[in-house]
């Protein structure tokens, strides 16, 4: 079994905080790793530097404030796995007890999460391969660009379509790759986490295809097209900085099997239209 450096937020502000501790303890007891004390690591980071470099860091957050993830980011620890208790409770339609003392519902959720995580680790097959079967996304891309102050913004001239949420789609046959534009990656700045929808998920047009988190913001990738996720870019998950470096090619996020591109296309912009929109956005941008 893969072992982790388990970093719970161990918060005492909301009910989900203390549950991160319970989950981390359950995982540790099952042999899934060692715990990093978030308080001590803030006070004396050297205490856990070795552990965080030897084992992959697993950040366990209570709520959307994501104190554990942010702490890891502050300490420059690379987080390889993350979980948020409030999100998990919501997904499972569970109402946690409104108490800082873990109650039966919260503890049962932790137990269930620990069991699932451990089973998942046991069964972990190699990550889904990037790239589709019959699709070809290797055609060289020609870019148009414009500059504003010291910033250069690129947009592919052909073969890509965009929504007004700064996400693109590149189509090949009945497959499509989806990602974020150069303008958006510069807006977000250095990406720390890329969490795509899981393979097999059905996404509606303008539904959420991924969550991207940078040093500045959390961003929802709004899918320009509908379809079923058939692959995710594991390279972008492992090294989100490639989305900053090459947002239109290597930095794709998910690959979809299209469901109705012919009609959805009417709601999207082509490269030239999107370039004009970016120019407008840049002109109006107020940091």
């Amino acid at each position: 079994m893969r072992r982790y450096a388990l970093l719970p937020c161990n918060g005492l502000d909301k009910a989900a905080g203390p549950l991160t501790r319970e989950l981390a303890l359950s995982l540790m007891a099952a042999g899934a790793g060692e715990i990093i004390c978030p308080v001590l690591s803030r006070r004396a980071p050297a205490r856990y530097a070795k552990l965080a470099s030897e084992l992959p860091v697993f950040a366990i957050d209570g709520c959307a404030t994501r104190c554990a993830s942010r702490l890891a980011g502050d300490l420059r620890w690379k987080v390889e796995r993350r979980l948020q208790i409030a999100e998990e409770a919501k997904a499972a339609a569970i109402a946690l007890e409104d108490s800082l003392i873990p109650g039966p519902v919260g503890l049962a959720l932790c137990q269930k999460l620990a069991t699932t995580l451990l089973a998942d680790e046991e069964a972990k097959a190699p990550a889904p391969a990037a790239g589709g079967t019959e699709a070809d996304f290797t055609t060289p891309v020609e870019y148009a660009s414009f500059t504003h102050d010291k910033f250069l913004f690129r947009v592919p001239k052909e073969g890509y379509f965009f929504n007004e949420n700064d996400c693109w789609v590149r189509v090949s046959g009945n497959r499509a790759r989806v990602g974020i534009s150069d303008y958006m990656q510069q807006n977000l700045s250095d990406l720390l986490f890329c969490t795509p929808a899981e393979v097999g998920t059905k996404i509606e047009q303008f539904g959420e295809a991924a969550t991207l988190e940078s040093t500045k913001a959390v961003y929802e990738l709004v899918s320009p097209v509908s379809g079923k996720v058939v692959a995710v870019n594991t390279e972008a998950v492992d090294n989100p900085e490639i989305v900053n470096q090459d947002p239109y090619e290597r930095g794709w996020i998910v690959e979809l099997e299209l469901s109705d591109f012919a009609s959805e296309r009417d709601l999207l912009l082509d490269g030239e239209q999107y370039l004009n929109l970016v120019k407008k956005k840049v002109a109006e941008f107020r940091p």
Binding site: D13, K14, C63, A64, T65, A86, K90, N163, E164, N165, E204, Q205, F206, G207, T211, A217, V218, Y219, E220, V222, L267, K280, K281, E284, F285, R286, P287
Partner: protein, 96 residues
């Protein structure tokens, strides 16, 4: 100035903006600090934050809710909003 249209539809006709659940909001202001579009506005008094400029909100963007620890921000249903946009576009196209 914010964009005046989204997908060719006047922005003010699209009902997309966050709603604050004041029973959960702790007024930590994380959402306001995060949002670059001045959707929120801080106030004096008991209610310290309001959605003052809903049409500044980027349609389909829910990023501020992901910064909200107490989970106090909600948004309209995306697919419902999408249907409204589509029907407004069809209406506009049908006009001479």
């Amino acid at each position: 100035m914010s964009e005046t249209t989204f997908m060719g539809v006047p922005r003010e006709q699209i009902p997309w903006a966050p709603t604050i659940d004041y029973s959960k909001c702790s007024f930590c202001m994380e959402c306001d600090k995060f949002c670059p579009h001045q959707v929120f506005e801080r106030r004096e008094g008991e209610v310290k934050l309001v959605v003052a400029h809903p049409t500044n909100c980027v349609v389909f963007c829910r990023a501020c809710s992901k910064t909200c620890g107490p989970d106090a921000l909600s948004f309209p249903d995306k697919q419902e909003t999408f249907k409204i946009i589509k029907s407004l576009r069809e209406k506009a196209e049908a006009q001479p």
